[in-house]
Subunit: 193 residues, 2 copies
């Protein structure tokens, strides 16, 4: 089915004792999807009943605030999961949009398949437990930076910690992710260099 080992399989093996047979049997629960830059994987205001693992490319998750401004809450590049983890299984509406920042290939799974997969192959529980544990820990760390630093410090800290993003993601999206205006980013960059 695959010449090269699938990226999700490689990732899952790093966190759990997933065997080749498990993987083969698990694979049909996922679907491979491709999106062109700017295309949407999910719309705010409707159920987002899938979560996605990025195999190549880059996605952003955003919402529209009460003044109509779009606000990025999360990026995902290779090996990252993205989605509305609170609602995708129950089918409630989600406020989040998911959009391709670059041409992107993902491995998606529906809430239903996700439930069945975990039931039939508990080894996936081990994997997802760790993914979420790390993601949650990282989210609290993010709050740490949001609160403890000035916007200027937040920006440069981000650029230094994730230089890769500065290359791949347009400046205005980074601004949106960090909660500042593109104009202000311009200004502090000018001061710095």
């Amino acid at each position: 089915m695959m010449d090269k080992e699938h990226r999700l399989f490689a990732h899952a093996k790093k966190f759990s004792p997933l065997t080749e047979e498990d993987w083969q049997a698990s694979f049909p629960f996922f679907e491979t999807l491709s999106f062109r830059k700017k295309e949407h994987l999910a719309q705010g205001g409707s159920p987002n009943h899938k979560i996605y693992f990025v195999t190549s490319g880059c996605l952003q998750q955003y919402f529209i605030d009460n003044r109509g401004i779009s606000r990025t809450v999360q990026f995902a590049i290779e090996h990252w999961w993205i989605g509305d983890f609170l609602t995708f299984q129950q089918g409630q509406n989600s406020d989040f949009y998911i959009q391709a920042v670059e041409n992107t290939e993902v491995c998606g799974i529906s809430g239903e398949n996700y439930g069945q997969l975990l039931e039939k192959f508990p080894v996936w529980e081990v994997y997802f437990r760790q993914i979420y544990q790390i993601a949650y820990g990282a989210a609290l760390n993010r709050v740490k930076y949001l609160y403890g630093f000035s916007k200027e410090e937040i920006y440069f800290h981000f650029i230094e910690q994730f230089p890769e993003f500065a290359q791949r993601v347009p400046q205005y999206l980074i601004a949106s992710f960090l909660g500042l205006t593109p104009e202000y980013v311009s200004e502090i960059r000018k001061n710095r260099y």
Copy 2:
């Protein structure tokens, strides 16, 4: 061992098929601890090698920002887990302090015991996977409010969504959690009522 069903057992049963026998065998991996108001469970700058489930009372997790101000990143009341989930298993240093807001009783587990517990009783994987999945989803939702709303809106939204906290937690800690100053909270409350 217990007259009444343990709160952690009750909670775990809601999320996983944990049996009475599993629970009895799992119990020794945890330890029950009591803390008086203002007492610390963990110190920033050193390894926080435990995570805690609150059985009664209230805890806060905070760090000291680069100007010396303490910033609350998370509260935990009954049925909530708290800790530094990124580092507690590896024993790295953590920046976070954990302190009792009220007299509090917790069920703690060390990184080591946690690893063994999950290995011996995989049913706990199911439980923690869901706890973290929810916590991570909620963390992204929190970012949504931080970015999309003014500080005044953030404050009143929080008070309305968690009126219980407004009762139990002093105002300056809520301010710290929401990223605003106690003085500003005073001001917007004055305007409102």
